[in-house]
Structure formats: structure tokens, C-alpha cells
């Protein structure tokens, strides 16, 4: 079992989702139980489903100097970085520590594969990519990390984590290691994922996509709604107003695309996260569930929450607001957990009509206000890759 870690302050954070750009739009959606999902108007070929689409990316090209990275995923990264003054916060950290002392750890599952898909639709007569899509960095998963490092003008280690839907939760764990080992003095973490054919038709091939807006933990749930999002956070040593308190990472060792039937991998990540935070389950006031609205995930996760947590904790899935943003889900749901700590707003599980009988009293359909001391966020990915995060309020240094 891991030993407790020192809190790390989260000195800035932001999220841009289908609810709109920045934290205010997200909080407004959560507080008023407003889903950001819409009928699929994105894919080149028709697919009956609902999506969490971010408006305005089509006309939001990145600056000319960064044209080699211009694609939907990096446009969303650019839009996301401009939310909530995040770029200014990084600039200030750069002035304090120096560019070489700021690391970057970003998560993604799609990265800019959408640009590769587009190139395949527009191959020239020699079977080559069209001229404007020939930049090699755009067709590799580190496209995201490379782009954001250039935008932020930071020179510490810059790496992309790609463990499917746990990617941008695991970035917090990696950031803690870089800070504790003295490799960096501040770490920008985050994640960006965008809508593309690969994920829409890929999840469809696994019969995991719902033709309706997703209904997490509903007795009649029938699959996920895919979304896109960008989110970022700035981590530094020492306790602040908002802190990362713990994390747990584990593997299911079970199956590539279905969770361990008893949730043993998820529970192991939960135990490690609580151990690092030095907290018991009774200290947690809000849980942001992975809650994809897939039959299996919700079944296994509901059972885990019911057996490990008391009845007073408020647990919810926010996939109905944003869609399942895959590689960005970890950072988006970390942002929602931080908003809960800051405002006391604990979101409900929007779209859901009737909870599955498997759910304990912890899982709530309606949003509520209360005092949130500690919040926990679950992220589980393909390959049986699990990550659980614990956040808490602290005293500003």
C-alpha cells in the first residue's frame, strides 16, 4: 500500500466542453442540469447517436506560425488554453521558475487522428496526403503535447500519455512524480480529445454507442455519447486553496474493452488513491464517477461504490453534460471535482430517468449544494487501465 503524499496545489485550471468555453459555462450547465449533448451533426457518414460537440472550432484556426499543427484537436487545445486566463497563469509560473523548470504532461486518446482521417479522404492521384496535411507531427499521437509545449513556450519534459479513457487522469500522477523528484518546479497537466470517425465508428463497432443521449446508471441505459473537450491544470509544490491529495493507478488484467466483472482493478486504484491521500472513504463528500452509460461499466462501478462508500456521499456521472470525452475525461472530471470543492455544487446525473437497482443511495440524479471537503474522480480505460484521483481544499499558503 502506498504511503501518504504531500498535497500539491492546483494554482490554475480550466475546461472547455460541450457546455461551452471555460469553467463558468461548465458550472452553469452543471448547476442547471443542462446537457450539452446534441444529435450527431458531425460525422462524414451518418451515425444515429448524440455527441458533445464544442462550437466554433471550424472557424478557430491556430495562428499562422503554428499552421503545421492546425487540426481540430489542436484548435480545441488552443481554445482550451485561452479559457480562464490559463495561459497567463503559466506565463507567471514561467517568470517565477524559468521555462526549463516547467514540465508538460497531457493525455489524449484521439490526438489529431481526425487530420489523418481527413487526409485519407483527400489522397492525391499518387495516393499521397494532400499538401496542406503533410506535416508529419500532425499524424502522430504526440501532436498534442508538441503543440501545447510550443504555445506555452515551456522547456521542461513534455510528454503525451495515451491510455485511452484514463489518459488525462494519469497525468496528475506523473506530475506528482516529476515534482517530487525535483525534475520540475511546476507541471502543466491536461488533456484534449476531439470528435472523429475513429472513435464514433470504433465505439459503434463494439455496440457501445447509444442512439439517444447517454443515460448513466439508468436501468435502460444503452451506451455512451461521445464528446470532445480540452482541460488543463497547473500543479506546484505546497498546499494551496485547491490540492491534489492522492492518486491510484492499476490494471484490470482482464479484457481489452470490458471491465473486470468484480471491479477489482478499479478498487485497487481507489485503495491506492485513498492511501496516498491518507483518507478513508468517509472523508469523501463528492465522487465524480466514470459512469459512461455502457451496460458493463456502470454495473461494475455502481457495485463498487455501493460496497465501499456510506450513504451520505453524493456520487454522479457527468457524461450526460459533456459526453464521454475519452482521453480528456480525466481532466474534465477533475475540473468538475475542483468546481465542487470551490462552489459546493455537486452535479446530478443528467438525462437519467430511473436508476438501475444496482445503484446504492450514493448515486444521485439531481444536482445539490453542500460542503465539499474532499472530492474523488474515477477514470477507467480500455486495456483495463484505471486511475482514481482525490482532491481537497486547503489553506492558501
Amino acid at each position: 500500500m502506498p504511503v501518504p503524499i504531500s498535497p500539491l496545489q492546483i494554482s490554475a485550471y480550466t475546461a472547455t466542453t460541450a457546455c461551452g468555453p471555460g469553467k463558468a459555462a461548465l458550472l452553469d450547465g452543471l448547476e442547471h442540469e443542462r446537457s450539452g449533448l446534441r444529435a450527431n451533426d458531425f460525422s462524414v457518414h451518418p451515425l444515429e447517436t448524440w455527441i458533445g460537440r464544442v462550437d466554433g472550432l471550424e472557424s478557430a484556426a491556430v495562428p499562422e506560425s503554428l499552421a503545421r499543427w492546425d487540426c481540430r484537436n489542436n484548435r480545441l487545445a488552443w481554445m482550451g488554453l485561452h479559457g480562464d486566463g490559463f495561459i497567463d497563469a503559466v506565463r507567471s509560473a514561467r517568470d517565477r521558475y524559468g521555462a526549463a523548470r516547467i514540465a508538460l504532461v497531457l493525455g489524449t486518446s484521439t490526438s489529431s487522428i481526425g487530420a489523418s482521417e481527413q487526409a485519407y479522404r483527400e489522397l492525391d492521384s499518387d495516393g499521397r496526403f494532400p499538401e496542406y496535411l503533410r506535416s508529419s507531427i500532425m499524424h502522430t499521437p504526440h501532436s498534442l503535447g508538441d503543440f501545447v509545449q510550443r504555445v506555452l513556450e515551456i522547456e521542461g519534459p513534455a510528454v503525451t500519455v495515451a491510455t485511452a479513457c484514463s489518459s488525462s487522469a494519469k497525468v496528475f500522477a506523473q506530475a506528482d512524480r516529476l515534482l517530487r523528484l525535483g525534475i520540475a518546479d511546476a507541471v502543466v497537466v491536461g488533456g484534449v480529445d476531439t470528435l472523429c470517425g475513429s472513435v464514433l465508428f470504433g465505439f459503434n463497432s463494439l455496440a457501445l454507442v447509444s442512439p439517444q443521449p447517454c443515460r448513466p446508471f439508468d436501468v435502460a441505459r444503452n451506451g455512451i455519447s461521445i464528446g470532445e473537450a480540452a482541460g488543463f491544470a497547473l500543479l506546484e509544490r505546497g498546499s494551496g486553496a485547491l490540492n491534489l491529495l492522492g492518486y491510484g493507478e492499476s490494471s484490470d488484467a482482464h479484457h481489452m474493452s470490458t471491465p473486470h466483472p468484480q471491479g477489482l482493478g478499479a478498487e485497487r486504484a481507489l485503495d491506492d488513491a485513498l492511501a496516498r491521500a491518507g483518507l478513508g472513504t468517509d472523508a469523501i463528500d463528492y465522487i465524480n464517477l466514470h459512469g459512461t452509460a455502457s451496460e458493463k461499466n456502470d454495473e461494475v462501478e455502481a457495485a463498487l461504490i455501493a460496497r465501499r462508500f456510506g450513504p451520505t456521499v453524493h456520487a454522479s456521472s457527468t457524461k450526460g453534460y459533456t459526453g464521454h470525452t475519452l482521453g480528456a475525461a480525466g481532466i474534465v472530471e477533475a475540473a468538475i471535482s475542483l468546481l465542487a470543492l470551490e462552489t459546493g455544487i455537486m452535479p446530478g446525473t443528467v438525462n437519467t430517468q430511473a436508476l438501475d437497482a444496482l445503484c446504492g443511495p450514493q448515486i444521485r440524479m439531481r444536482s445539490a449544494h453542500g460542503t465539499v471537503r474532499h472530492a474523488l474522480s474515477n477514470s477507467f480505460g480500455f486495456g483495463g487501465n484505471n486511475c482514481v484521483l482525490v482532491f481537497g481544499r486547503g489553506v492558501e499558503a
Binding site: 502506498p2 460525422s43 462524414v44 457518414h45 451515425l47 526549463a100 486518446s109 487522428i113 482521417e117 487526409a119 485519407y120 495516393g127 499521397r128 496526403f129 503533410r134 508529419s136 502522430t140 499521437p141 504526440h142 503535447g145 508538441d146 522547456e155 521542461g156 519534459p157 510528454v159 503525451t160 500519455v161 495515451a162 491510455t163 485511452a164 500522477a173 506523473q174 512524480r177 516529476l178 523528484l181 525535483g182 525534475i183 470517425g197 475513429s198 464514433l200 465508428f201 470504433g202 459503434n204 463497432s205 463494439l206 493507478e249 492499476s250 490494471s251 484490470d252 488484467a253 482482464h254 479484457h255 481489452m256 474493452s257 482493478g265 485497487r268 480505460g381 480500455f382 486495456g383 487501465n385
Partner: protein, 267 residues
């Protein structure tokens, strides 16, 4: 700048022309040549027979080196957390996904889709070995090996326990090959231990170094023959470890590098 020491407990390497560490070590020292004709890809013995046949090349070569390095370290796979790193992931599946989406999106194979995740090799490793430890999958384009090594060193140092690092890339194919330059198959695995033990092969003393990095180019003909693979940033370190003692500089980016001093146990 940060620094520290790791013990190397296990090492493996696989390419069609260098199918294990002993032959790679000899070739990197200039004492042996390349396998001719080249070998076919290894069978991922850890997987169930149906999965073994359908496993992507990335999974087959990653599991081969992972199993060998862990065995050399005298460990069971279930006890080690792991860091998997690859510049591009499975380029053949990316080509398949993009090509199929053009005209037949409803024909996407569910198996190939779930194998398209960057952590497919990590997932199959943990499934095949029953390992429930933490596992990650990273990429940093042409510096993917160096960043995987840095994360493996970080985890081993912070948690004070040994860790498995696996690095691999395969050749680009289809239209993607006009923008992505990766040739052949190459995989390597290291078991790093923060503490010395009976299986220590030597020490890797690391230092983070600021400023523009001029990477050492591999010198042996064997290593140079693998240089067009996207995980080739591992080659200078492998070549160094093939010798009793030496230094390498692994760039982490334009302005940062990982300096490694290698000393074999009985050098």
C-alpha cells in the same frame, strides 16, 4: 539539476535481424553480424491462441521483449508496474482505421478498434500475465524512448520498487507512410531497480541536462541499420549497455536531455 542511480536487472531487444539481447549485444560491439535471413515476428506466447494469431505486430514484439527482460531480472511479471512507450503506436492499425473510414465506416472491426489504443501492448501484457500493477503508455514523437525511461526512473525512484520499461515501434504503411518515417520493427525492454540485487547487471547513473542536446549517433553497423525505426532514440543507450562502461545523451526535446552513465557490474 536532478540526478540519481538505477540498477539494471534485465534487458531485452528484438528486431528481425537481432532477435535477442545476446545477439544484439554482440552486434552492437561489432563482434557479430545481423541475422540473415531476418526472423519473422515472435509469437506472443503469453496470449490465448486466438489472441496470439490476431495480435498486432506492436503487441507481439512488445510482449516478447517484456517477457525476456522480466525473466532475466528474476521477477514474476505480476509484481512489476510498467511503462510502455512508442512514438506512433500501431501504424498498421492506424492505416486500416483511416482507410476503412473513407468508404465503409460501418465495417470497422471491433477487435482492431480496441487494439488501436496506444496502450494496447500494455493492456495485453497485464492481461497475459495477470498483472494488476499500474501501467502507462506514453509518446513523445522522436524522443519517446527517453521520455519512457524518465518516467520509469521517476516511478522506480518515488515508489522505491523495480519497474518494467518497454519501448517499440513498427513500420509505417499505406498512405500514412508518405508523412510518417518509421521502418522495420524494433523493441527493447529494461527492468530498472532502485536498489542493488543479485540480478544487477550494472548501474545507470542519470542526470537531467539543460541546453540543446546533440545526441550521440549509434556507431555500430548493426545499430545504424535500425536507425530508421521511430523508437531509434533507444539505440545509443543499448549500444552503451553492450559495452562495459560509457556515457550517452538522450534528448528529451530541443532544450533538455537525459545524460546516462553506464557501468557494468563487473566492468
Amino acid at each position: 539539476m536532478s540526478s540519481g542511480t538505477m540498477y539494471l536487472d534485465g534487458i531485452a531487444c528484438w528486431s528481425p535481424t537481432l532477435v535477442d539481447w545476446d545477439s544484439a549485444r554482440a552486434a552492437f560491439r561489432g563482434e557479430a553480424g545481423l541475422l540473415d535471413p531476418p526472423a519473422r515476428r515472435p509469437a506472443p506466447e503469453l496470449l490465448a491462441p486466438t489472441e496470439r494469431r490476431r495480435a498486432p505486430d506492436t503487441v507481439a514484439i512488445a510482449l516478447e521483449v517484456a517477457a525476456r527482460a522480466v525473466a532475466q531480472a528474476g521477477r514474476t511479471p505480476g509484481e512489476l508496474p510498467s511503462v510502455f512507450t512508442s512514438a506512433h503506436g500501431d501504424l498498421a492499425i492506424n492505416d486500416y482505421m483511416c482507410a476503412t473510414l473513407v468508404n465503409e465506416p460501418m465495417a470497422i472491426s471491433p477487435t482492431r478498434f480496441h487494439n488501436s489504443v496506444h496502450n494496447a501492448a500494455a493492456g495485453y501484457w497485464t492481461i497475459g500475465t495477470g498483472c494488476m500493477q499500474a501501467s502507462t503508455a506514453l509518446t513523445a514523437f522522436l524522443h519517446s524512448f527517453a521520455h519512457g525511461l524518465l518516467e520509469a526512473i521517476s516511478q522506480a525512484s518515488i515508489e522505491q520498487r523495480p519497474i518494467l520499461l518497454v519501448a517499440y515501434d513498427i513500420a509505417a504503411c499505406g498512405a500514412l507512410a508518405c508523412v510518417t518515417a518509421s521502418r522495420g520493427m524494433l523493441a527493447t525492454a529494461l527492468v530498472l531497480n532502485p536498489a542493488p540485487g543479485a540480478n544487477s547487471l550494472g548501474t545507470l547513473t542519470w542526470t537531467l541536462q539543460a541546453g540543446p542536446a546533440v545526441p550521440l549517433q549509434p556507431v555500430s553497423a548493426a545499430a545504424r541499420s535500425l536507425q530508421e525505426n521511430a523508437i531509434a532514440d533507444c539505440l545509443p543507450l543499448l549500444e552503451c549497455i553492450a559495452n562495459p562502461e560509457g556515457d550517452v545523451l538522450l534528448p528529451l526535446g530541443d532544450a533538455l536531455a537525459l545524460h546516462i552513465h553506464w557501468k557494468a557490474q563487473h566492468a
